[in-house]
């Protein structure tokens, strides 16, 4: 096991990619604090981790609020020893407008708060513990939208996800001397109930065009991204920091 006894906080752990990441980290021996907004759903992943012999706790929090982030850290420290890994996975476009002309300020603010400010607050909150132990792994889940652009989401989402990559590089530079690495993963389109509905509403021609742009000719499964996160969280990635790793099946090559 590559992450034995390490404490990992995973935000957005209650579904999809976050769920797969939380499970993947636990399978490698990490103790997982699974964070989500919906208490029932976040208990689901904790149950699954425990059923497979792993250790996990559920934390319900709105991580766009600094006080809630503080409580998240306190609850993690009350249950486990130290904080070694933070995966900022909570995110999404929150079903906000897609076209620039339609985007209201409230929509802009909400998407930026969730996708950019929350990762910043979480990173800031875990930093003292990582600094003290001279070891830390922060992994920000960005998006292909932030690496390139997207049709299904608006400028607020692309901007926030791109900014998250900038935050990644800046924190990597500032915190590198303390043995803390900060990296991002940029997933391509991934199967989940929403993407499945969108996929089904497309014409065959549309689907062929989309798949044709992906070198591997398939959409991602959540587990495809979890493997990359486990790698970045492990000591195998000791010398990797400031990077954005594209798990896009070759849709983006940088």
């Amino acid at each position: 096991m590559r992450l034995k006894e390490k404490t990992a906080i995973v935000t957005g752990a209650s579904k999809g990619i976050g769920w797969a990441i939380a499970f993947g980290l636990a399978r490698e021996g990490a103790h997982v604090a699974a964070v989500g907004r919906d208490p029932a759903r976040v208990k689901g992943i904790v149950k699954e981790i425990r059923a497979s012999g792993g250790k996990a706790i559920a934390i319900q929090a709105d991580i766009t609020q600094a006080s809630e982030v503080r409580r998240m850290v306190d609850e993690t420290l009350a249950a486990f020893q130290g904080i070694h890994i933070l995966v900022n996975c909570a995110g999404g476009s929150l079903a906000t407008s897609r076209l620039t002309a339609d985007v209201r300020k409230e929509e802009w603010d909400a998407v930026v708060a969730l996708n950019l400010k929350a990762p910043f607050l979480c990173a800031q909150a875990v930093f003292p513990y990582m600094k003290a132990q001279k070891m830390g792994r922060i992994i920000n889940i960005s998006s292909i939208a932030g690496r390139s652009s997207a049709d299904l989401t608006g400028p607020q989402y692309t901007s926030a996800k791109a900014a998250l990559q900038g935050l990644t590089r800046q924190l990597a530079r500032e915190w590198g001397p303390w043995g803390i690495t900060v990296n991002a993963v940029a997933p391509g389109i991934t199967w989940d109930p929403l993407s499945k509905r969108q996929w089904e509403s497309r014409s065959q021609e549309d689907r062929d065009t989309m798949l044709g742009a992906i070198a591997l000719r398939r959409l991602a499964e959540a587990e495809d991204h979890a493997g990359a996160v486990v790698f970045l969280a492990s000591e195998e990635a000791d010398y990797i920091t400031g990077c954005t790793l594209d798990t896009s099946g070759g849709r983006v090559m940088m």
Binding site: A172, A215, A228, F231, Y239, G250, M253, M254
Partner: protein, 256 residues
């Protein structure tokens, strides 16, 4: 159970420090190793013996990796003796001591660096892909350099061009062979602490060393083993949806 149990891996430049570290790491995850290098590499037998001691098969093969027919024969021998290769790591010989200033680079300097780093990688990939296509699986990893992601004051245009070319090669192969379940990626290595680089490092003053390390967020150089771990990741199914990518193992010095 290793993550590469019984897979057949070809590593070029296997007689060099980085190639050896990569071969060890892949074998530690269960792969059987074909160890390629140019003729005259003295270290090939040593690393082969080391890998056999780990309980894995090892086949050292020296030859002209810039000659298509020779490369094809070597790959055939791998397939015959170990099985069809599904992992190929192109770890070229680097600058080969050629000048770092453009005006001093002779045509011979240019040719040997491009041939041995870039052309050899293409030929090895071309030969290995025949087997990967049949297997319906494969992972190619080209060892590139931070010099190709940013800049380098210590190596010339021939080296930067070759290393940049390896990234382009990985992207093309990713695109052409993605539908067949074959992935191709590059690893851009940053400053690395090797015996080979040590004499030049020692010529620097303490102040120069410090200035250099200050440019690296992690404040230290990499070890060959650290690059090898990233190669294992790219060779394994943990990177199942990563192709055409370049991973910067640079301590944060250059990242994209």
């Amino acid at each position: 159970m290793g993550r590469l149990e019984n897979r057949i891996a070809v590593v070029t430049g296997a007689g060099g420090e980085l190639g050896m570290a990569i071969a060890r790491a892949l074998a530690a995850e269960g792969a059987h190793m074909a160890l390629f290098d140019f003729a005259g590499s003295k270290e090939l037998e040593g690393i082969a013996a080391e890998i056999r001691q780990m309980g894995r098969k090892a086949h050292p093969l020296a030859g002209d990796l810039c000659d298509p027919a020779a490369v094809k024969n070597l790959m055939q021998e791998v397939a015959k003796d170990l099985g069809p290769p599904t992992i190929l790591v192109n770890s070229g010989p680097g600058t080969l001591g050629t000048p770092s200033r453009a005006e001093e680079v002779s045509e011979e300097d240019w040719d040997i660096v491009i041939d041995r780093n870039l052309t050899a990688a293409f030929l090895c990939a071309q030969a290995a892909l025949r087997y990967m296509e049949k297997a319906g699986a494969g992972s190619i990893v080209n060892i590139s350099s931070s010099a190709a992601r940013g800049y380098s004051d210590f190596s010339g245009p021939q080296y930067v061009a070759a290393k940049m070319g390896l990234i382009g090669l990985a992207r093309h192969l990713a695109r052409e062979f993605g539908a067949k379940g074959i992935r191709a990626n590059a690893l851009a290595q940053g400053f690395t602490q090797t015996q080979e680089a040590e004499p030049r490092w020692r010529t620097k003053t303490e102040k120069e060393k410090e200035a250099l390390l200050r440019q690296i967020p992690l404040r230290r150089r990499a070890s060959p083993a650290e690059h090898a771990k990233a190669v294992v990741f790219l060779a394994s199914d943990d990177s199942s949806y990563i192709t055409g990518a370049t991973i910067d193992v640079s301590g944060g010095m250059f990242t994209l």
